[in-house]
């Protein structure tokens, strides 16, 4: 019985529980056995929850762990002669073979023991699915009956249902923590596996990055060097170019819209500019390779410079474009938070608009603007698609914006896509880079959000 079918039956049972519970409660009143403490529908929910929730949780658990258990059983059932000498990866390979065979997509004629195991796997799978489904449905029925028997006029079903709901909502908010925890743990776990093979110091301060590991012993230039410094530099370099575009343009347009534009202009221009923020980054990436990179190249060639096809400048410029609305809408909030009384104060002294803005409003808004810039920087560092498409793959320590550099996110993507073993140093290095990226952006975000929050408190 399939997962979704079982799920459907459980849902039906739950719905039936609601209906039965409700009418039972209504009957209780009709028979005159006193006033209900809770509305009949709460009695219905009470029964439905008892029937549905425990079985649903168990079903989820089975969905996650069931296959593992079955496969472990199959492996354990193999003749000792076949499994005793296997290493872990060989065991995984064998399991994959059995799985493929069971799915009918294996190639060649399998060894007889594999064929047998595959058959057993198929059998066990369907058998276990039936057993588990039957057990869960029986359990749900039992729980339903039990809850129905408990129904009584003075049973405080509303409180019970509300407590459950509240608990469920608390679990939802715990999910936010769980996500962070999941990110941190998975990154740290995989990064540790990487650092077991490659020294963290060499990773952080090494100047060579060439993640290709030699397949043959005698291969040239594939030593697998993982010195992240050039990659980090590339990230910062492109981010810097992006910020050089985004901060002045974003800030000035925020100032113009907040202080000079008429409300009509503002109400049109602001949303139109924000379209820039809503465009998916993959579109910017395409724009970069299709239009900006050739333009930059042409410009460089006219100047007599040699320009790489995927120059840091092109990627940075396009990333800057993407960040303009980000900077401008954050700065706009910040500028608008500066109280009007300060502007009046300056105007009352005879300051011109620009004097008011430059000497009173912007200094007053400075902390908030710094926060906005830091958030934009964090966004730039973590930006992936633009650089994956428009920046280079080779790690270069250069300050020439016409050369290609690579970034942390590019390396993560290139090391994790394509067919690679999951536990080669190359793939694991992506998690180490991911950890680095997460830490840096987290710091920037915490600082920036802290600054912005404190800034808001000043003027609230």
């Amino acid at each position: 019985m399939s997962f979704s079918l079982t799920l459907g039956v459980l849902l039906l049972l739950s719905a039936a529980g609601y209906w039965v519970g409700r009418s039972r409660a209504a009957n209780l009143v009709a028979r005159g056995s006193g006033r209900l403490h809770s509305l009949p529908s709460y009695h219905g929910f009470y029964v439905a929850l008892w029937a549905g929730i425990p079985a649903f949780v168990l079903l989820l658990a089975w969905g996650v762990a069931g296959d593992r258990i079955v496969e472990a059983l199959v492996l354990a059932g193999l003749p000792d002669a076949q499994t005793a000498t296997l290493t872990n990866s060989e065991r995984a390979l064998l399991l994959a073979q059995i799985r493929n065979e069971a799915a009918g997509i294996g190639f060649g004629t399998p060894e007889p023991f594999v064929a047998a195991a595959a058959e057993r796997l198929v059998e066990l799978r369907s058998f276990s699915a039936w057993i588990v489904s039957a057990a869960l449905i029986a359990g749900a029925l039992a729980a339903l009956a039990w809850a129905l028997r408990r129904l009584a006029p003075d049973l405080r079903t509303r409180n019970g249902v509300e407590r459950t709901l509240r608990l469920a909502m608390a679990l939802c908010s715990a999910l936010a923590i769980l996500t962070t925890l999941g990110i941190v743990l998975s990154l740290i776990f995989e990064a540790l596996r990487f650092f077991a093979r490659y020294s963290p110091l060499d990773f952080l301060f090494g100047l060579q990055w060439s993640p290709q590991t030699a397949i043959r012993e005698d291969q040239v230039g594939s030593s697998g060097a993982f010195g992240a410094l050039p990659v980090v530099w590339g990230t910062l370099f492109i981010s810097l170019i992006a910020m050089l575009v985004a901060v002045p343009v974003g800030l000035m347009s925020a100032v113009y819209l907040a202080e000079y534009a008429t409300p009509r202009v503002r109400s049109w221009v602001k949303p139109v500019l924000e379209i820039l923020a809503g465009i998916p980054t993959v579109v910017y990436g395409f724009f970069a390779i299709l239009t900006i990179a050739p333009l930059v190249r042409e410009a460089g060639v006219t100047l007599g410079l040699s320009v790489a096809a995927n120059s840091a400048l092109a990627a940075g410029l396009v990333m800057g474009l993407m960040l303009i609305p980000f900077v401008s809408s954050l700065s706009d909030d910040v500028i608008n938070a500066v109280p009007q009384s300060l502007r009046d104060g300056a105007a009352g002294l005879g300051a011109t608009r620009s004097e008011t803005v430059r000497q009173v409003v912007l200094p007053a808004a400075l902390p908030g603007i710094v926060g906005a810039v830091l958030l934009a920087l964090s966004r730039a560092i973590g930006e992936t698609m633009i650089v994956v498409m428009a920046a280079g793959l080779a790690a270069n320590l250069t300050v020439n914006p016409f050369e290609a550099v690579t970034t942390v996110t590019v390396q993560i993507v290139s090391n994790l896509t394509g067919d690679t073993e999951f536990d080669s140093a190359k793939t694991l290095s992506a998690f180490a880079l991911g950890l680095l990226l997460f830490c840096v952006t987290l710091c920037l975000n915490v600082i920036a959000l802290g600054i912005v929050k404190r800034y808001r408190e000043i003027y609230d």
Binding site: P263, P339, S341, L342, R343, D344, G345, A346, A347, G348, L349, G350, A351, T352, E355, Q359, V360, P363, A364, I458
Partner: protein
């Protein structure tokens, strides 16, 4: 030389023309408003105000909330320009020149007609920077010494010098409410305006701070023409020589403060003064 001029500005009280009297000649009129109407969108907030403000006198504008007295005050140095949908018609003259003349410059007007706001609004900068901001943008001083002097003179005039002379670098926002308001007055004085507009300058302050400011206004009227909006009739009586009573966007009557308070010409003034409404 410039410094001397400045010093002259700050100290020389234009003795010949004070005190202004009810029968002052035209030359004594510093500002005058004729048929000033203000519209917010389709709403007329002021229905044609005529009033003369005489040189070196304190004119108090009183009236119930929403009567238009603050709006009128803001017309005098064109602070209403920055409010969306606000239109001003009629004429306001400063020394006989129309303030709303498009050829005239609003920045200059505001430098000559300074303003102190209801809520103290020091810039989030040091006390020193707050006071020197005006002279700096208007280029009134040529060097640091002059600037220091202007700051000190202004703070002295605002009666704040003794309290803050040791912490000029401290942020202006760290002062108490009354001190902040005096700082704002010092900031206004430092530009050497001819007229100072005060929009309920004491409404956010405690009684002691209010007394300080009132004494200060009394001091200042020797050098400046002052228009003060107030809610508080005792205050009007204490600080002003003349009083104008506004009601529902109309100027009901203008006269010597004493006359207004003891023998008003209009029933509405009488009712307001005796507390029937307001």
């Amino acid at each position: 030389m410039f410094k001397e001029e400045y010093a002259l500005m700050q100290t020389a009280s234009p003795a010949p023309n004070t005190p202004a009297t009810a029968t002052a000649p035209m030359a004594d009129v510093k500002m005058s408003a004729r048929q000033v109407r203000v519209h917010y969108g389709d709403n007329e907030a002021l229905h044609g105000i005529d009033v003369d403000i005489r040189r070196n006198e304190v004119l108090a504008l009183i009236g119930p909330s929403g009567c238009g007295k603050s709006t009128f005050l803001r017309c005098l140095n064109r602070m209403n320009d920055s409010i969306e949908g606000c239109r001003v018609s009629g004429s306001v003259t400063l020394d006989g020149v129309d303030v709303y003349d498009p050829a005239l410059d609003v920045v200059q007007i505001r430098a000559r007609v300074g303003m102190v706001f209801q809520k103290p609004n020091p810039f989030p900068k040091s006390i020193y920077d707050n006071v020197c901001y005006g002279p700096r943008i208007h280029g009134l001083t040529r060097n640091r010494t002059e600037l220091d002097e202007v700051v000190e003179t202004s703070l002295r005039r605002a009666g704040l010098w003794e309290e803050v002379k040791d912490r000029l670098a401290a942020p202006g926002t760290g002062l108490s409410g009354g001190q902040q308001q005096r700082l704002c007055i010092a900031r206004a004085i430092a530009v050497s305006p001819e007229v100072i507009l005060m929009d309920e300058p004491c409404s956010a302050l405690d009684p002691i701070a209010t007394a300080h400011i009132e004494e200060l206004i009394d001091e200042l009227r020797r050098n400046y023409t002052i228009v003060i909006v107030t809610h508080n009739m005792q205050q009007a009586a204490r600080v002003s020589r003349r009083t104008a009573f506004f009601h529902l966007g109309n100027l009901v009557e203008t006269g010597d403060t004493e006359t207004i308070f003891t023998n008003p010409g209009d029933q509405r003034t009488q009712d307001y003064i005796t507390g029937r409404f307001g």
